[in-house]
Symmetry: C2
């Protein structure tokens, strides 16, 4: 299957770039073992968190921390927290009243593996534990306040994005492209934005560094979702052997559906360059973020 | 209907004691109006929060703040936050996969008023907004860290209590009374504990003051639930016109079921005295907390 933008030539060692995922997973495991919890709740959370996953958000937290000169360990608490938030959102999205999914990445979803009540409660607990982790594991009081603000705002924007997407209630006369941007900016963009910002804050970013990281994050956050839209279309096309626009036929807004495939590819390339330009201000320590961006631009799944 | 402990004679002006509820409700309303949210999500949250409610937890926050010498306004952010958490827990508890309740306090539950997906997402958002409120509205950085830690730990203990209660998974050989205490301490006690502690922290409590408030909170937190157990039995008895133990027959652990009605009444009185003793260290400013305790001991619903 071809990538989203096969015309962009990129070389990267992805294994090296994603290496920070392993210590963050270990950090979550230790935290969950130390925190007193009912045994079945702990098992449900472990099941939801330790399934296969790209760990994109925690990797961004660590890499953003390093990009401004911080040590990776300084980013482990917010990296663990954002993965808990991401996994909580997947558990609740999969529920019968939401997307009603039986499988996620080849395994039964949590409510199929356990039951619906446990999936609701485990999701709730994962969100709460993310905030507890920030409040108990970060030692600098001012930083706790800054990071928990980012985490709260990003989480709530993500939930708002889910509402915009599945239970749309836009003001009358909102243009389709504006609806789509609102959905993307909140549903996917918010967590990517705060992943980078929390990492930068924990790395002791200066104001200009934080601004650069934020610009980078907003560009890749939108790009991530535009690529997703494009992959939906190309995957559908290849899978069904017929023209795209399946999502558009279902009334679902997508970039290819609204502006066509060619302009969607141009938009991805524009956002890729925008994110690179933001990183130029940070010097060579930001190289892994650049590689991550390029990977996200050409990914095929 | 008779109260739980009709032999205790108490005089109090409840209207005066619960007066702090109104400004906290107003505070939540302003916060919800200012926070950008999808219109239907905002309406769902408003429906869930602004239904009839005792507002016990926010009142405890404000009264605990005053008891250590703080101004009531200093407690409004955590008071609003804990009410959002409490209401989120009710919304999720009412879901079909949980208690499957159609009515709460005479009105359709949120998932009946809107739909299940919205009830799940609105509950999620209410939890997240509680943390956002603490992180954005409290100005002192150290206090943000302390209060968000309390809020997170209390919320997670409450969720753990819900799991212990509805999906019990205790270690083998755990005694019934120990199971019951674990459920009560977490499910109801945790939020009452942090209500009082957050209020005291925002009021600038000294360590001995915080200790006294914590002792008070733990006593009334357990008492609140023991009274609930007793009311379940007495209400059931009166309603059905037959002997109690309906909950016990269903396998549900309760204090009257485990130790009998007389010893349950004695336990309530013991906890009432314990909470009063804790308040003795705080002087006359703690009088409203004493009155609240007495009200909770004799309440009939």
């Amino acid at each position: 299957m071809s990538g989203a933008t096969p015309d962009v030539s990129v070389n990267f060692d992805l294994d090296a770039i994603v290496a920070p995922a392993a210590p963050v997973e270990k950090y979550i495991e230790v935290f969950l073992n130390e925190r007193p919890l009912p045994a079945n709740l702990r098992e449900a959370i472990r099941y939801a968190v330790f399934g296969p996953g790209k760990r994109l958000r925690p990797i961004l937290v660590v890499r953003a921390c390093e990009a401004v000169g911080g040590a990776p360990e300084a980013a482990h608490a917010p990296a663990a927290a954002i993965e808990l938030i991401h996994c909580f959102s997947l558990v609740h999205d999969d529920l019968p009243a939401m997307d009603d999914d039986d499988l996620r990445r080849g395994r039964p979803t949590l409510h199929r593996h356990t039951n619906e009540a446990m999936a609701i409660l485990a999701g709730d607990a994962m969100m709460g534990l993310a905030f507890e982790l920030i409040a108990t594991r970060i030692k600098d009081a001012k930083l706790v306040g800054q990071v928990s603000r980012e985490l709260a705002e990003g989480t709530n924007d993500m939930i708002a994005g889910q509402v915009y997407d599945t239970l749309p209630d836009f003001p009358a006369h909102t243009q389709p492209i504006e609806k789509l941007r609102t959905i993307h900016r909140n549903k996917t963009g918010a967590l990517i934005r705060i992943a980078c910002r929390m990492g930068a804050l924990c790395g002791g970013a200066s104001d200009p560094q934080l601004r650069a990281i934020t610009d980078y994050a907003e560009a890749i956050g939108l790009m991530f979702q535009v690529v997703d839209d494009l992959l939906d279309v190309t995957q559908t096309t290849e899978h069904l052997g017929k023209a795209a626009n399946k999502d558009a036929d279902k009334g679902k807004l997508t970039y290819p559906g609204l502006i066509g495939i060619d302009r969607t590819r141009q938009e991805i390339e524009r956002l890729r360059r925008e994110s690179h330009a933001a990183l130029d201000k940070l010097g060579p320590r930001a190289e892994p973020l650049r590689t991550l961006c390029d990977y996200m631009a050409v990914r095929s799944k």
